[in-house]
Symmetry: C2
Subunit: 226 residues, 2 copies
DNA sequence: TAGATTGTTAATCGATTAACAATC
DNA sequence: TAGATTGTTAATCGATTAACAATC
């Protein structure tokens, strides 16, 4: 029996992509079941935590067998909304934008990239991954004629807020933003800020731990308040 | 007085990039101080949590003024290790790899991108962002002659593990992996998995909430155990 | 001074773990 | 059957919040 999925806490939601990734991999193996202990080894979460998490989604476990890999995978897809078709557009066809135009992750997550926009006349008209780059001046027109669920924002920092404002004004309710600068939107619009360099930060923090432990920090730093 | 920085919990560490991003922005304004209440509005964290977090790093706050923006910014840079110079290389010059070669985030975080490698003969020799793409067969040779602190892994999924193994064998201790597949490394090697499509997942989950709340889920799904 | 805001403590809240009965 | 492993409860652990004295 499935519990009220609406009540699944954020922290569990944040582990879903990790389960998804590993189950996808497991699905390709010839195994049918996976135990919480095996998932623990793969994910780094404790087996106890995994059993607790999974119990939110229903009862896929069979005592002494483990979890049905395929069922679990399907259910996580449903909770994450991957089984629901969504249209997404890309604003900004610079280096990162182009890489995202070639991203293979859309389909399996239920997204279809339907249009790419840019401001640069040199890019407009070029075709990337079968999509012709449209002029950003056509944005409002396009959105009035096509139902679009979300937009990817990969414009330069300076243009990010203005472009987001245009998207919101044109009715977009979800933005995946790669702008390094935080953007402001009304409360009914979802923004997912993808700090692309966050991984670089985390790596740096971890590489830094041994040095910080030797506490050369205070010496380096002469900005303390008295 | 600064506490033992080594003991800063992961959860606080994970908020550092957010503080960093907002302080960087604030630094450009003409303000000298920012209050925990203002930071709360910007970050979405509670002012109480922010004061608690910041108290770990030292005493930058002045009662009735707030926090010295520049000092706080500097200290967070130190904790994240941005003031320490690191060399990084890029393996895989496909669409995403090229976008990362043009990424402007390295310098301010103390990284310098020093080499780009690829397997594809059509790419080898091309210059992207002033770096000539080298053959992956030169990897070991390059690493034996150059001190490198970290590697960015943007090779296709199928090559990810093997390439990671080569990097580890050649002495690399930190990998920023964009492979969609989890990679295995020895315990003394740091891996930061950047699930590029995680933002897409999060967006999807949030867009899905209203529908899930109407609980069409159980009907959709006929994979339950009996 | 009066108002503002920190730094910190204690209280609360929530998440994780340990343990084990149930059972395949 | 005996061994394995879930699902769940209670105990623990850790993180967040509320509150307020200190003080600029």
């Amino acid at each position: 029996m499935t519990k009220d999925l609406y009540s699944i806490p954020d922290i569990i939601m944040s582990r879903l992509p990790v389960y998804y990734q590993h189950l996808k991999k497991l699905k390709e193996s010839n195994k049918t079941y996976v135990s919480s202990e095996e998932l623990a080894k793969l994910t780094g979460f404790s087996s106890s935590l995994i059993r607790k998490d999974l119990s939110y989604f229903g009862t896929f476990g069979r005592k002494s067998y483990g979890y049905d890999i395929f069922c679990l995978f399907q259910q996580i897809r449903i909770i994450m909304g991957f089984n629901y078709n969504k249209k997404i557009i890309l604003i900004g066809a610079g280096h990162l934008g182009q890489a995202l135009a070639y991203n293979k992750g859309y389909i399996e997550r239920g997204y279809k990239l339907t249009a790419v926009f840019d401001k640069n006349p040199k890019l407009i008209g070029l075709v990337i991954n079968d999509l012709e780059i449209k002029s950003i001046s056509d944005l409002e027109n396009y959105l009035s004629e096509n139902k679009v669920d979300a937009a990817i924002l990969t414009v330069p920092e300076a243009a990010a807020q203005k472009t987001a404002d245009r998207l919101v004004a044109a009715g977009i309710k979800a933005i995946w933003s790669f702008a390094e600068v935080p953007i402001k939107v009304p409360a009914d619009v979802l923004v997912e800020e993808q700090l692309i360099n966050e991984g670089l930060c985390k790596l740096s923090v971890k590489m830094n731990q041994p040095r910080i432990n030797k506490s050369e920090v205070e010496e380096d730093f002469d900005c303390e308040q008295k």
